[in-house]
């Protein structure tokens, strides 16, 4: 069953037709496998190869050892865990004892509309999703267009704009908590330096600006990602499109607005979906800055879920909040995956 790579390469050089010929020869020469008890599964119509042999050589069977172990591991932790979470959310488990799976109800979900802290967390999550994604996309697009102007040191600029993405939320939260410090933080110091004292404030201490401050810092961390996606999109647009727009006498701004940006819709969609997923995962950042209770002004579902389940041991309610978060992700990602599937990108 083994093969020799040099012989393979030689055969490649000789061309496929010849190779195909030799395949027939080899098939004839191939000894019939009758090893093990499998031989009892009888022979095929031609009588030369057993069904067992053909089964062993079918790629569907050969593929199984490759994808099945990872699929099982992932299936257990991803799909098994999500189903289990759903089941837990139907119990009333809220102690250190074990959950009771015999008494299921939608009670946890029914109490959500009346829970002020849930409503605040839900609202903030949606605001975060929309504002963070929108701002990051806009900044990413501008960055990509600027970097795409045949500039020198393009690599250096790109590398620096993308650098924050290499950092963990823990690290960026520490940096930004310091940036936002009302007295010694860079933001207020710079504002004072520019004579804009009236703009200074306690950015993360003040409930009115807390969520905006979080969104701003997250945008700093992830706009480079949108830039990279947009750059790839821009590079895929043929030069002729730019030239045609110029011949038509369009200004640079109009050219981008009317000709170039519409062609970036695929990049926009995929970047938007990934950014929204980042936003849904922004737990680490808020947790490091504020602990598990950032207050109504900045609470998001991801943080609320952790607080409710792991600090207050209201496991069932935590699981229900987690389900809402999962459904929110599904409404974003589901249509995207379907679209990809329709386009044949899967």
């Amino acid at each position: 069953m083994d093969f020799d790579i040099r012989r393979t390469l030689t055969r490649l050089a000789r061309g496929r037709r010849e190779a195909a010929d030799s395949e027939e020869e080899r098939t004839d020469e191939r000894p019939v496998r009758t090893d093990g008890g499998a031989s009892s599964t009888s022979t095929s119509a031609s009588g030369r190869t057993s069904r067992w042999t053909r089964l062993r050589h079918s790629e569907a069977v050969q593929a199984i050892p490759f994808w099945l172990p990872p699929a099982l591991l992932m299936g257990l932790f991803v799909y098994g865990a999500i189903s289990w979470n759903l089941l837990i959310s139907l119990t009333d488990w809220s102690s250190l004892l074990q959950p009771d799976y015999t008494d299921l109800s939608l009670d946890m979900y029914r109490q959500m509309p009346d829970d002020k802290s849930f409503r605040a967390a839900f609202r903030n999550t949606v605001v975060l999703l929309v504002a963070f994604t929108g701002v990051s996309l806009a900044i990413g697009l501008v960055l990509a267009i600027l970097v795409d102007q045949n500039i020198r040191f393009e690599n250096t600029f790109r590398t620096i704009y993308l650098l924050p993405m290499a950092l963990s939320f823990v690290v960026t939260a520490i940096f930004w908590a310091w940036m936002y410090n009302p007295t010694t933080g860079t933001i207020n110091v710079v504002l004072r330096g520019l004579g804009l004292d009236f703009l200074t404030r306690n950015w993360i201490g003040n409930p009115d600006t807390r969520l905006a401050a979080i969104i701003f810092a997250l945008t700093w961390q992830f706009s480079g990602y949108a830039m990279v996606v947009y750059l790839a999109g821009l590079r895929a647009i043929p030069d002729a499109h730019y030239e045609a727009a110029k011949v038509d006498g369009a200004s640079t701004f109009r050219m981008y607005l009317r000709v170039i940006v519409p062609q970036l819709s695929a990049a926009t969609t995929s970047a938007a979906v990934v950014l929204m997923v980042f936003a849904l995962k922004a737990f680490d950042f808020i947790y490091v800055m504020f602990g598990d209770n950032p207050g109504r002004s900045a609470d998001i579902l991801a943080v609320m879920m952790f607080r409710v389940a792991f600090s207050r041991t209201q496991w069932a309610y935590g699981a229900a909040v987690a389900t809402v978060l999962f459904l929110l992700a599904l409404t974003v990602v589901g249509p995207y995956l379907y679209l990809q599937y329709k386009r044949g990108d899967l």
Binding site: R7, P70, A71, L73, T159, T184, T186, V189, A302, A309
Partner: protein
């Protein structure tokens, strides 16, 4: 916003010289201004980390310390507190990264290079895992590991039993890394030339032989991308560690850093030094392997 026309007239035929007009100058001013914005937290953190306790309060942030305020003490203090976390992180991040990349490569091979019905269906199952908010698995995850009782199973080896949190973390991160690793390898395998594989098939190689002798060696560049991506993700994670690692001696670096931040509310110089120490591995990887890093993060979309 300065939008600049990139006319070919700006460049000589060999493209080495360009005429600097006002628009070009404005473009570079904006680009450098943006660099200042993207680097300001890091630059500010760096200057703060070298200042004495009195220094970071009394001097201007972003301005490097003068000799009277300069000190290395915050770095020593932060390193002392993060040492254990750094070591624990290395011990679980490396195996988790390698295992998830290997599983991803094997799965992607089985799902692209071998032809069988239902491939796309299985692939969608893999793909959907990428977009999961981890909150929706946390409670079952904690239940699962407490039910498995890995610590009891490992009681024959006290050293491993003490590190059970980290072993759980390794397996968990491996499992959740599989979807993205599969996607990364799949896009690479889709573009791979099939001639060699077909020739090997003709020579009677089976699927495993083809993977071992041809596909795996050819995947090494993609292994670099995937390992870099996964290393960054797993090293930077805090959430799973919070749920699975309870004993302080097993704290990973993000946990140690979070604790340092919490216990030293206003000691910004030590916090900043700690942030840099914890981020150093990923920053180094990013600076050295920038292209692979970018390839990895965009491969997810």
């Amino acid at each position: 916003m300065a939008l600049v026309e990139s006319e070919t007239a700006d460049e000589t035929p060999d493209g080495t010289l360009e005429r600097l007009d006002t628009q070009r100058i404005a473009l570079y001013v904006v680009l450098v201004g943006l660099i200042a914005f993207y680097l300001s937290p890091l630059w500010g953190g760096m200057t703060t980390a070298f200042k004495t306790d009195a220094g970071f309060v009394q001097t201007t942030p972003l301005i490097p310390p003068t000799p009277e305020w300069f000190t290395l003490a915050p770095w020593q203090e932060a390193f002392g507190r993060l040492q254990g976390g750094l070591l624990n992180s290395v011990t679980f991040v490396v195996p988790a990264t390698v295992l998830s990349a290997l599983f991803g490569s094997l799965a992607a091979y089985g799902l692209t290079k071998l032809s069988w019905r239902g491939q796309v269906g299985v692939l969608v199952i893999f793909l959907a895992g990428v977009f999961l908010p981890y909150q929706s698995v946390l409670v079952p995850l904690r239940q699962f590991w407490s039910m498995v009782g890995l610590a009891d199973l490992l009681s024959f080896a006290p050293f491993l039993a003490e590190r059970v949190d980290l072993i759980e973390l390794t397996i968990t991160h491996t499992a959740y890394g599989i979807p993205i690793c599969t996607i990364l390898f799949r896009s690479y395998y889709k573009g791979m030339d099939d001639d060699m594989i077909e020739a090997a098939k003709i020579d009677g190689a089976n699927a495993f032989g083809i993977y071992k002798r041809i596909v795996f060696p050819l995947s090494l560049p993609m292994f670099a991308v995937t390992l870099i991506y996964q290393f960054t993700q797993v090293w930077n994670d805090l959430l799973f560690a919070l749920v699975l690692v309870s004993s302080r001696s097993n704290y990973v670096v993000t946990q140690s850093l979070n604790e340092l931040q919490g216990s030293l509310a206003q000691e910004y110089n030590i916090q900043m030094a700690g942030a840099f120490i914890a981020a150093l591995p990923t920053i180094l990887i990013y600076v050295i392997f920038g292209r692979q890093f970018a390839q990895g993060i965009t491969g997810a979309s």
